[in-house]
Symmetry: C2
Subunit: 121 residues, 2 copies
DNA sequence: TGACGACATCACAATATTCAAATATCGTGT
DNA sequence: ACACGATATTTGAATATTGTGATGTCGTCA
């Protein structure tokens, strides 16, 4: 039974939305809806500074939207599974929308280009 | 040239998320997922000042999340139909989640109480 | 018309967010 | 151990967002 005036759902959902409420971060999520990527990919695909890329990823990670995995020198990010029901449904809907019709156009093209033969090298 | 990297979808979706990325505003949306309400309802159900209520509703309205209708002295708010595909899917999923399992607990109870026999009187 | 209630907006201080450049950290190869 | 590349964090200044109280606007009813 919910006790506080604000239920957990609303609290965590607003947290999620706040993280997604930034164009750059949403573009990151959109790219991630196609699969795991490492930091350098976001830098080149989105044309961000290294510092900014890292920080936005940090915000998303803090909000539980993404999770990181280290592989050698590189850190790979992927969408994190959501525990809260509302968050889960929202992220799933978002990913589905992004995966279906490519909402990213040039971002994805740049990404694929940079993913060429040997990415991250 | 300006890499116009961001598609319309991403831009409008981040706008939506930004508006939803606040606990108070999300509680408003949650209440609205049950139907149309007038300003005084939010005030009492959420325990907000009149000024704050009005401003948060203004933010939501500005973001295209809600729309207003005047009826005599009162102004009624309801969720606005979304044009962009992504926004539409997201808001629908959110409303469905809120409508199903009451994510609001006390907010709704307070609301129903204040909605008694003759609301807004 | 004037008074009142509902709602919107303004003004202000507090707090938070933004970005880029500089700096720090961590893993890898030498 | 050292140097280097990849990523993270800190810094600081500009900007945005927040909530509150005061004020403005609009509609209603007498």
């Amino acid at each position: 039974m919910p006790v506080a005036a604000t239920s957990l759902d609303v609290r965590s959902a607003s947290r999620l939305f706040k993280a997604l409420g930034d164009e750059t971060r949403l573009r990151i999520v959109a790219l991630l809806s196609h699969g795991e990527l490492c930091v350098c990919h976001f830098e080149s695909a989105l044309g961000l500074t290294q510092s900014n890329t890292s920080r936005q990823l940090g915000v998303l990670k803090n909000a539980g939207v993404v999770e990181a995995r280290r592989d050698g020198s590189w850190v790979y990010y992927r969408l994190a599974p959501q525990m809260e029901e509302v968050c889960k449904a929202q992220l799933e809907a978002l990913v589905a929308a992004f995966a279906k019709r490519d909402a990213l156009g040039e971002d994805v093209e740049r990404l694929l280009k940079s993913l060429g033969p040997n990415a991250c090298k």
